[in-house]
Symmetry: C2
Subunit: 499 residues, 2 copies
């Protein structure tokens, strides 16, 4: 009998009918049953007469399945075994305790994300370079899109399109005309016929990320469009959404991002977004994480279907520093998916220093939120990590990996901010007594020492953390009132661990 890992993917590929339009004229679904769960999933047409049903077992044990639908006159049944997970397979990420995440097996998940919007639609050479960078373990979440991207640095066509048809000519596009001179009717799509090859390109990336232990924060809609994919009607949207859900829900590392910058999709109303959310709730039986990302105004993150806040900064100067406010306001994990990117392009969202990016990561993470990276250095071949992947050029990735290592040392799951002096950020473990584990962060301040007055009778191991040079230096065991020398540099932290 076939053996699948718990949280792995079982797939049935079946020949079926092809008369008419297989994407719209037939359905396929499966019911998977073990002693612990019964799950009904919808399948999809993968081209070449093949229909597929996929399933992710949430438990170990024997599974039976029955697959049927108008795609075939037959009913298909079978069995497989779900064995224990292995390696870096810890199951899907869940909200663990209001503000933090853990994998389904209980392992804490400290999100350190990055964004490569359309790395899934780049030539193979770029794709391989991206994988090479990702293997270095800088990040454990990646935001990327199903649809291709139209924007500065994104005038080349993607390697595939999501629908059958012909795209507009893009050879005349440049920075001056790309926002004003687009005529969507220069594209010719059949919005009733999806292109399976395109979704296989996306899927390949999801699986590669899964193998690397990286969550795939999949952006299903977005406004940066010259093809009309952001202006489809309800029928086309629904066909697309259901296809995405039927095809990708089985992957344990999927997170659903309804949109990047939903508020720039001028055709779509709040009712539309709530409708897409309903589709996810209906067609994703695994309850993957769900959010929606803003440009200007946050979506109402109190909506019950939203599992976590996917935030873009709303002010140039103060943003991740509001993490605690948003935790209180929304009662959900706060994920800063856009806090400006390391780079040097003309626009402010993509030209901060590595130092400032890392400061923001520490500010957001120590306050019990989660931060995301991006890189937008001007490079000769116009391959920017933020959109295409490729090579990393910046100083922040290694520091993000270092921060992740520190976060993973938190007792229990997750950090939170507690009141401190005006000039320090004090972070403690969410689930441990506040006096047991404390990180003091000084950001752009350069103290040459700091004084502490801790409760008498508690001894602390004191460490000086250089968040930029990535060192943790033992500063001895201290108790009561003590003074810790510092090198008068920016971006230093002091950690106190009760011993």
């Amino acid at each position: 009998m076939q053996v699948i890992e718990r949280w792995g993917v079982f797939e049935a590929a079946l020949h079926g009918k092809t008369e008419g339009n297989p994407f719209t004229d037939y359905e396929i679904s499966g019911t998977f049953t073990s002693s612990k769960e019964t799950v009904r999933v919808t399948g999809f047409y993968d081209g070449d007469d093949i229909y597929k049903v996929r399933f992710m077992p949430s438990f170990t044990g024997e599974y039976r399945y029955e697959i049927s639908g108008s795609f075939s006159d037959e009913v298909f049944t079978g069995e497989f075994t779900a064995c224990e997970a292995s390696g870096n397979n810890h199951g899907p990420v869940r909200v663990a305790n209001t503000y933090h995440f853990a994998y389904e097996d209980g392992t804490p998940y400290y999100s350190v994300g990055t964004t490569c919007y359309v790395w899934d639609l780049q030539p193979e050479e770029v794709h391989q370079k991206t994988l090479e960078e990702l293997r270095k373990g800088y990040f454990n979440k990646m935001r990327f899109c199903v649809f291709p991207k139209h924007y500065i640095h994104n005038f080349r066509d993607p390697i595939s399109f999501p629908f059958e048809g012909t795209p507009m000519d893009s050879s005349w596009l440049n920075e001056e005309n790309f926002q004003t001179d687009i005529d969507l009717s220069d594209n010719d799509w059949d919005f009733t016929r999806l292109n399976p090859e395109h979704f296989r390109n996306v899927e390949r990336c999801i699986v590669e990320l899964m193998e690397l232990g990286i969550e795939a924060d999949l952006i299903v809609m977005h406004p940066y469009d010259r093809w009309g994919f952001s202006h489809m009607d309800r029928a086309a949207d629904d066909l697309y959404w259901k296809y995405v859900l039927a095809r990708f829900s089985c992957f344990r590392n999927i997170w659903w991002s309804l949109a990047n910058e939903y508020d720039l999709l001028c055709d779509k109303t709040l009712e539309d977004w709530e409708h897409y959310a309903d589709l996810i709730l209906t067609y994703d039986p695994y309850h993957h994480l769900r959010s929606i990302h803003n440009c200007h105004a946050f979506y109402d993150f109190t909506r019950p279907w939203i599992t976590h806040c996917s935030m873009q900064r709303q002010d140039l100067y103060r943003h991740v520093e509001y993490t605690n406010d948003y935790r209180i306001r929304y009662g959900k994990p706060v994920v800063w998916d856009e806090l400006a990117y390391e780079g040097d392009i003309d626009q402010g969202w993509g030209n901060i220093t590595g130092e400032e990016l890392i400061r923001r990561f520490w500010e957001g993470s120590l306050r019990g939120g989660y931060c995301g990276h991006g890189e937008t250095y001007t490079v000769p071949d116009d391959i920017l990590w933020w959109s295409h992947g490729g090579e990393l050029h910046g100083e922040s990735p290694a520091r993000i990996r270092f921060l992740h290592g520190i976060l993973c040392q938190t007792p229990g799951i997750g950090l939170k901010e507690v009141p401190g002096e005006f000039d320090e950020l004090v972070s403690v473990a969410e689930l441990a007594p506040a006096e047991d584990y404390r990180i003091y962060y000084y950001g752009f301040g350069r103290p040459s020492f700091r004084k502490f007055s801790m409760p008498e009778g508690i001894s602390y191991k004191v460490e000086v953390i250089d968040t930029w040079d990535m060192t943790v230096t033992d500063a001895g065991i201290h108790t009561g009132t003590f003074r810790i020398p510092l090198p008068a540099k920016q971006y230093m932290a002091i950690r106190l661990t009760r011993v």
Copy 2:
């Protein structure tokens, strides 16, 4: 006949009675009359049987005076001539047009301040070093105190005290005990007898600053005290205030700061502050600028006696960026007297980088506010500019002087913020058409170019300003839509001047 410059100081020194207490038992006042003004001023006892009356003529021409009071049975009269001002004498600084300052002769005054709280009470060697730095022209306003300062780095006694008596022993003070173990009764002061030598020390500094073209923003009260000067009763406060006003009002460069961090003076009520303000209004006939500086909460800057907002940042991350908000709220000039100091001490108010200090100066100044410097580097002899003066060690002073040069090139008087893109600060001349003169500032952003779409038909001289390297580079004449390359560094600005 004696000749005094307009806005210079006329002084009459007269022998008078000394029985009893000359500070409390006698008065002296003078009336000064020219064809343009009649001014009554109060005098003061300067020790050694000498009473003095001082006067600042606000006009040129012939002045007659009559001095009398209980200090003497005689009435003294005389004449002098006020001639035109010369050199850097432009008269007192006034509020010129709601948000900005100009000297009384109409010359715009762009405030770039510094703070040396008790430089007036330091040994001669330190004093001379301070003057040497001030002669370099970095600053045109200095905040300093009449009372000595008690705080970290301030345990040595001042060179003089404001009252007759004996101070507490200070040899045992250190960073651990200085805030908790002070017994004010270890001091022995006669609060009815001022010490003229002390006020001569302060006065010397006022005059030295005046000669250097630097405004003396005199802090009359403050909370950092081990001698009881912040806990005097109403009678002692009044005697002190009236003495300060009688003695120093004559100096054209005086600004009155009722207090540094008024909200830390725990004995004083709002009624007290309003009373001190009344004393200034009564005893300063020249209407020098008046404000009061906060630690936590701003004083109500809408009070009619307050001429400008003397602000300390209320948030660690966003402060000078609120300048335009405060201009709107208070309708007065916004002066950021504390926005954190360049240095490396333990506390966040005194350990930011020169870069960050200069960024704050540009942010505040381009928004039509004014900023103040301070320096708190840990140095072996514990002489910190912020409190003592002495030598400057930082990178910011030269950049502040450079900024001042740019500010002085503003058409008319003063800058203001106008709406721009999210990632830029756009500043225009307050009194010129917004399209005539524009500075775009990018702060911590590092754009490698910026695009402009200006009204057709207007040609601009374009300059790239490196606010850190202090260069202004000609980028040619441009019109309409154009693109200006930048070096992808932080702290750059682009200036457009209509030609």
